[in-house]
């Protein structure tokens, strides 16, 4: 019963906050209720008014009414603190299953009023707080636990605030249009994979490698650490990877057939691990899957397409 109500409530909520990269918080999608301290304050208020009536204490009445007025006003101030903020969800980088995906959310404040204590997280009960100064932006990173390879929908994110007095909590739900690509969890295969090694047929082609320094390019996730140009990094110029050219030594094709006798998820994990170790040892490698074949190659992009193929298999 309760879960049915919850379900229909959230389907109503989701209708009001479609998946979009930028959501402006406004009357339509902000919800507000007293916090438990707000209810406590209401109780204290009732107590004060009863006692004041009984003891005919006009100072008590004054205090009670000031309290009532403050509570009443804080409804607006809390609501205002959230209103007009633009929440932008960014695409998040792929992660290996069972690692946390990081969802970066930017809070834009184009208004002239400062926003304080805006919490963002997977639920109202688990958030990170930031301030958003007037006419500026702040970003919050939300950790998203993963356990399965594939495409992961970013769940409904709660954007909440209790500022200024913690009497009311205003919140909104924001839904990211992006999905997180979750690579399979790499598990080393207990037996060596039977690689279809094609040797050095095209041995004279120049390929990206590690032998001769060739050029600099922006660091990409997955670049070997020894290729990072640390000197530049230390001078705070950013991360660069040195690109080398290399005479390709060996090539291997990682084939589904070699692991097909394992349970499917485990087999995928073995292949993922093989991809990683091939990349690490700077081999050229390809992938042969039942529905898809990836030609041999090397580098971060190549590794990404191999892992993606495995993730979505």
């Amino acid at each position: 019963m309760l879960s049915a109500i919850k379900k229909s409530f959230f389907s109503w909520v989701d209708k009001r906050s479609p998946r979009q990269s930028a959501t402006v918080l406004r009357q339509k999608n902000i919800y507000i209720l007293p916090t438990r301290y707000g209810w406590l304050m209401l109780g204290i208020l009732v107590l004060i008014l009863i006692a004041s009536t009984n003891y005919q204490n006009n100072m008590g009445f004054m205090a009670g009414f000031v309290l009532l007025a403050v509570g009443f006003l804080s409804l607006f101030y809390t609501f205002r603190n959230l209103k007009g903020i633009e929440v932008r969800c960014l695409k998040s980088a792929p992660v290996f299953a069972s690692n946390d995906a990081i969802v970066t959310v930017q809070l834009f404040n184009t208004t002239q009023s400062q926003r304080v204590g805006i919490g963002l997280g997977l639920s109202k009960k688990s958030v990170r707080y930031v301030d958003v100064a007037a006419e500026s932006k702040s970003s919050v990173q939300v950790n998203l636990a993963t356990n399965k390879r594939g495409l992961l929908d970013v769940p409904r994110l709660a954007c909440t605030t209790m500022f200024p007095f913690g009497i009311f909590e205003a919140w909104s739900w924001v839904r990211s249009p992006y999905q997180v690509l979750v690579y399979p969890k790499p598990i080393p295969c207990p037996e060596p994979l039977v690689a279809s090694n094609r040797g050095i047929e095209d041995g004279n082609t120049r390929e990206k490698g590690a032998e001769d320094f060739h050029s600099l390019r922006d660091y990409q996730a997955g670049d070997p650490i020894k290729q990072v140009m640390w000197k530049a990094y230390a001078r705070e110029r950013g991360l660069y990877s040195k690109e080398f050219e290399d005479y390709v030594g060996e090539q291997q094709t990682l084939s589904w057939d070699s692991v097909a006798h394992y349970e499917k998820e485990l087999a995928i994990s073995y292949l993922a691990d093989a991809v990683l170790s091939a990349e690490e040892s700077q081999q050229h490698y390809g992938l042969e899957l039942p529905q898809q074949t990836i030609a041999t190659g090397q580098g971060a992009e190549h590794m990404h397409s191999c892992l993606k193929a495995l993730a979505l298999m």
Binding site: A22, Y37, L40, M41, I44, L45, I48, A51, T53, N54, Y55, Q56, N57, N58, M59, G60, F61, M62, A63, G64, F65, V66, L67, L68, A69, V70, F72, L73, S74, F76, Y77, F79, R80, N81, K83, G84, E86, T110, T111, Q112, S113, Q114, V116, G117, L122, K125, S126, V127, R128, Y129, V130, D131, E135, N143, M162, F163, P164, F165, G166, I167
Partner: protein
């Protein structure tokens, strides 16, 4: 760090909590037992020390100390119930809560409970200072809440604290509306255990020294507002109690039955007035002689004093009329004669014999009274606040030995002598005189104005007030008391001079009177605001008693309307965009209408490209505005007003 709540280890939150608690507890420290005050102060200081050291008090120690304190409260009050014990206990617990405060939840609880602690202080005082305290304390609590709810902690107070002040200022008009409209009840919801508290003021017994003791109290007994004519100060006898039983040392009030039926005595109205009486924790109230019809909530006794059904524990405001009552038509009954001639045997024998002896020489009652007063006038009778102590027979000791005394000595002795001589007489206590406050046009009667005088029964005339202290020779009146004595009802011209009211002298007295006028307004109009006053001014507005429920609807509607208006302004201010963004968004909206697929997540350069790709015509119109925007946003340090103006024009041209 994903958390439900902000941690309170953020900078300055704990010291701020300590300050808020100190402010909230401050007035209570003057009212609760000093060991409880000292304990709460020690806890606050201890918490600060522990905060600096980064340690927490172990829970078991807390438990032991809490139990000790509860025991202490119980020993102090012999109960944990009742107002004083309850407030003592709650203030201790309030301070202890801080010691174990480790989370947002604890701090929140402390701050919200603070609101209640603030109110407990109002059980002790409703003075004007408490109004100031209320505002300061609420502001402090709100500042605490702001710090608690902002990620920067107390550092944010500087820039965010303004919001607390603004909220409080906005709350005040709402509070005023609610204060006047909120339906009041004229009776308590349940009967309260009365904390017997020695209220200062006239008591229902009188012995040598009991009224003199009040002379040092400058506390206000009541304030009087006359409607129309004002009596001379020498006529201002504020009747409180009649004491007619004497045991040889002390005079007592005797039991009277209230007068239920109409007074059938001929009487004429003299003055109309309103009294705003300070609580005296007694049943009796005071009125200008002669008293007749009792004000609402009180009744008239057959000795022409007023009593209330309950004790005056809060300021009591009542209107009354003074009369000139003609008692001549109704002689005293046998019972009354006995009562007003009663004298204890076996004490004060000397005075009794002396009185009976002197009576032989003055057979007429009037002549005898006159002779006794001139006896006081001519002999060495002194009016002093520090007479020698009399141990047993209070009349003999005074009349023959010391001949020094305050009003109670004279009144007691005079009534005794009258009774000994066969003239019915009784002691009346109350206040005499008043101080005029020209700033508020009312009179102040203080405890130091407490007085005792007498009434004698003269056949064919009835009760006549006689103030024997007025007969004392001015040269034998103590310096401090000269002002009082000179303005008393002399009855015989040769003894008393009628002194009118003088304008207040001196800057200090001026200021004091102005201040009292403010306090009077506060206590009469604000703190004295009651159901009667509410009904009164509603009637003036044309709302009759049976229509009051409309008042409730009106109140609700007012609040909802105020909420809508307020909400509109507050929320609109949240949308106030700075001009560049505002016009850029306007531009995007225009482009969208022209069919350019753009939205606010796109950067201006992307918008430029998309526009060029979609429509050359639109591009020609929009490009200058977009380029200016890029310049404004990304190339300028500060916004240049001429550039802004150009941007606005370019946007409007699209």
């Amino acid at each position: 760090m994903n958390v439900k709540e902000l941690p309170i280890t953020r900078s300055g939150v704990i010291p701020l909590l300590i300050i808020v608690q100190a402010i909230v507890l401050l007035p209570l420290w003057f009212f609760i037992p000093s060991w409880i005050s000292a304990t709460t102060i020690a806890i606050l200081l201890g918490k600060y020390y522990m905060y600096r050291q980064g340690v927490h008090a172990p829970r078991w120690i807390l438990l032991v100390v809490v139990l000790l304190c509860v025991g202490g409260v119980f020993l102090q009050f012999k109960t944990l119930n009742g107002r004083d014990a309850g407030i003592g206990l709650i203030s201790l617990m309030y301070a202890f809560k801080l010691l174990e405060a480790r989370s947002y939840r604890d701090a929140s609880l402390i701050l919200f409970i603070s609101f209640f602690i603030v109110v407990t202080a109002f059980f002790y005082s409703e003075a004007i200072w408490m109004g100031v305290y209320l505002l300061i304390a609420v502001l402090a609590i709100l500042l605490g809440l702001v710090a608690l709810n902002s990620p920067q902690g107390a550092q944010g107070i500087g820039s965010l604290g303004k919001l607390s002040g603004v909220t409080l200022l906005q709350a005040i008009p709402i509070m005023v509306l609610l204060f006047f409209f909120f339906p009041r009840s004229s009776t308590p919801l349940w009967s309260m255990p009365t904390d017997t508290q020695a209220g200062s003021g006239i008591d229902d017994t009188m012995s040598p020294g009991s009224i003199g003791a009040l002379h040092t109290f400058d506390d206000i007994a009541f304030r009087v507002d006359f409607d129309g004519e004002v009596p001379a100060r020498s006529e201002m006898y504020w009747r409180g109690l009649v004491l007619s039983e004497f045991d040889g040392f002390t005079w007592f009030k005797d039991q009277h039955s209230p007068i239920r039926q109409e007074l059938d005595l001929p009487m004429t109205q003299t003055y109309q007035y309103r009294i705003q009486m300070e609580p005296n924790n007694r049943n009796w109230i005071f009125g200008l002689e002669d008293l007749a019809e009792a004000p609402d909530g009180a009744y008239l006794f057959s000795d022409f004093t007023w009593n209330r059904r309950r004790q005056t524990t809060q300021r009591f405001i009542y209107s009354a009329t003074a009369y000139d009552i003609d008692f001549s038509q109704k002689p005293l009954s046998e019972l009354q004669l006995d009562r007003y001639l009663q004298l204890p045997t076996g004490s004060n024998e000397d005075t009794r014999e002396w009185a009976q002896e002197q009576r032989q020489n003055h057979p007429s009652n009037e002549a005898f009274i006159r002779w006794i007063l001139s006896y006081i006038h001519q002999n060495e009778f002194y009016y002093t606040l520090s007479p020698p102590v009399i141990e047993i027979d209070s009349v003999d000791g005074f009349w023959f030995d010391s001949q020094q005394g305050y009003c109670e000595h004279y009144a007691g002795a005079f009534v005794y002598i009258m009774r000994a001589a066969g003239i019915p007489a009784r002691v009346v206590t109350g206040y005499q005189g008043a101080e005029y406050n020209p700033y508020g046009d009312y009179y102040i009667v203080r405890q130091s104005d407490a007085h005792a005088w007498t009434e004698v029964w003269l056949d064919g005339e009835g009760w006549r007030r006689i103030d024997p202290t007025a007969a004392i020779h001015p040269s034998r009146v103590e310096e401090d008391l000269r002002g009082d004595a000179s303005s008393r009802d002399g009855w015989m011209e040769e003894f008393g001079a009628d002194v009118g009211f003088e304008a207040p002298e001196g800057l200090l007295q001026n200021l004091a009177l102005r201040w009292d006028a403010i306090q009077s307004f506060w206590s009469e109009t604000v703190m004295g605001y009651s159901q009667d006053m509410q009904f009164g001014w509603l009637r003036k507005l044309g709302i009759e008693r049976h229509q009051y429920r409309y008042l409730g609807y009106g109140l609700l509607a007012t609040i909802i309307l105020a909420g809508l208006i307020f909400g509109y302004f507050v929320l609109r201010s949240a949308q106030r965009l700075e001009p560049v963004t505002k016009h850029y968004l306007l531009l995007l909206k225009k482009l969208e209408k022209l069919g350019i697929p753009c939205d606010r997540t796109m950067g201006p350069k992307d918008v430029l490209q998309v526009t060029r790709a979609t429509s050359q015509k639109t591009y020609a119109k929009a490009a200058p505005a977009l380029k200016t925007y890029i310049a404004l946003r990304y190339q300028q340090e500060a916004i240049d007003s001429t550039m802004l103006k150009r941007f606005k024009q370019q946007v409007s041209r699209v």
